[in-house]
Amino acid sequence: MADDKFDAIVVGAGPAGVSAALVMARAGLNVVLLERGEYPGAKNVQGAVLYTKMLDDLIPGFWKSPDSPMERHVTEQRFWILSKDAAAQAGFKSDRWAREPHNCYTIIRTNFDRWFSKKAEEAGAQLFSGVTVSDVLKKDGRVVGIKTSEGDELFADVVIACDGVNSMLAQQVGLMDEWKADEVALGVKEILEMPKEKIEDRFCLENGEGTTIEMFGDVTQGMLGYAFLYTNKESLSIGVGCKLSHYQKSRVRPYDLMEYVKKHPILRRLIAGSKTVEYSSHLIPEGGYNSMPPLYTDGFLVAGDAAQMVNAAHREGSNFAMTAGQLAGETVIEAKKAGDFSSKTLSLYRKKMESTYILKDLFDHRELENSAERHMPLVQQGPDLLCESLYDFFHVDGLPKRVGYERILDRGLKNKAVHEALWKEMNVRNIVTGLKYGLMAGKKWLGGR
């Protein structure tokens, strides 16, 4: 690469980076997109479910394209709470999800990222793979470019850091601090090959439909996290993600946990006869709103995993990345028109983000993990309690039903974790909040009559 000056340098060709590059290139900006992996997607790991709306905003009707890398459109979402030998199951299946535009698709990131990055290239962005950025170049306190590990220096009006969970750039410019182990999760994943017909029979699917299953309880061996199983065209994606601090405390090895998940008596039936063809693992930023860095500084923006944009509770991240990348790109287009790339102009990015679902969702879910951490005994014992209670409820053993009901009630009332959780939550603050929301709902109800 020759030393050169661009309108924008985007570091990282994942969903955030490609979205930003695509939007800017379409507006005629001179954009360079740098990817560390051998090709886009080579080092990226995701479950993976991709929501339609955000990609449709960028590439309208993308699913109709013959080269679309979508695996299956999801028509059913299941949630399982597992004990050692049982599963309490809930789920939702909708025929509306079988109609276009679908709610979401399963994808395989290596295929998707290659396809998506090609769209940015077709729009005019220059993609360079196998390029590691080692330094951010600054002049008079503002970011003016980057330096690669090969020693090349590239200059631009603005640098957009979409370099993922291990973002070096956001830290170099002083936006991001070092992480604590409770701000990240470690996800491990395998792709299991299985014939199309077998998948469709086993999961009751037709015409390219797909199922997702999220699993809580025994499969995380007492750690905070969840496992998943998604159907692709001719494979299944199976994985488990748990908080890193819990991995360190429990001394469970990620590979052993993956094997444990695959051998679970309820789960193994679904994957029987499959063959592992790919495995991967990666850190997932889960610090959320409270750990999010400032999103901009002079000549610099940050988007996607690099800015902790993940809502683990709703398995959303790639959609956040796409919207954030798009907004970052649009901000740069406006900054270019104004001829000003100072933080004052780039602060528009934060304002745009505030008006979207991203910051609202991250804000609303900011305490979710902390609350779960406060009630770990309940998180650990709850699945067994639930499965045992359901066993008593459904099992017929010749005793009167009232015996079973008493057993269920007794088990719940005598459980220490339940006591502890109730005790912790019965504080003045929660009672006042409960009353406040109760009154608000009451007023709305009365007002509506």
Partner: protein, 123 residues
């Protein structure tokens, strides 16, 4: 002279490391993925591991968790190849991580760091 295992997916980086380390008198073996690294550790008993963070397949952090939780590898000194990045601190929690090597690096810097880590292990 020490036996050193390098785990990095980039062949160029492995070459630079191997040449530098062999010139300093060490013997070197290589792994290009995290799982290959764990496999190698079952067969070999290196004196030091140089571990990359971003690798396809198992990443460096997963490898590190496995190393620290296996009695055979829990004391193996490790140099983590990482620049300034938020995840660096996560590696510092492991006692067996003796040093960090930032890419790009000078040969002298590499040899010095390796010697220091090996000395720490065998005072």
């Amino acid at each position: 002279m020490a036996k050193i295992l390098i785990a990095d997916d980039e062949a160029d980086i492995r070459d630079v490391l191997r040449i530098g380390l062999e010139r300093a008198g060490h013997s070197v073996s290589e792994a290009s993925t995290g799982s290959q690294c764990l496999e190698r550790l079952k067969e070999e008993r290196p004196d030091l591991l140089i571990l990359d963070v971003e690798m396809p397949g198992w990443d460096g952090y997963t490898v590190q968790l496995h190393l620290s939780q296996n009695v055979m590898t829990a004391k193996l000194p490790v140099i983590v190849m990482t620049g300034l990045q938020p995840a660096k601190k996560l590696f510092e929690n492991f006692k067996q991580v003796k040093g960090f090597l930032n890419k790009p690096f000078e040969e002298g810097q590499l040899v010095q760091l390796v010697d220091r880590c090996l000395q720490k292990q065998n005072p």
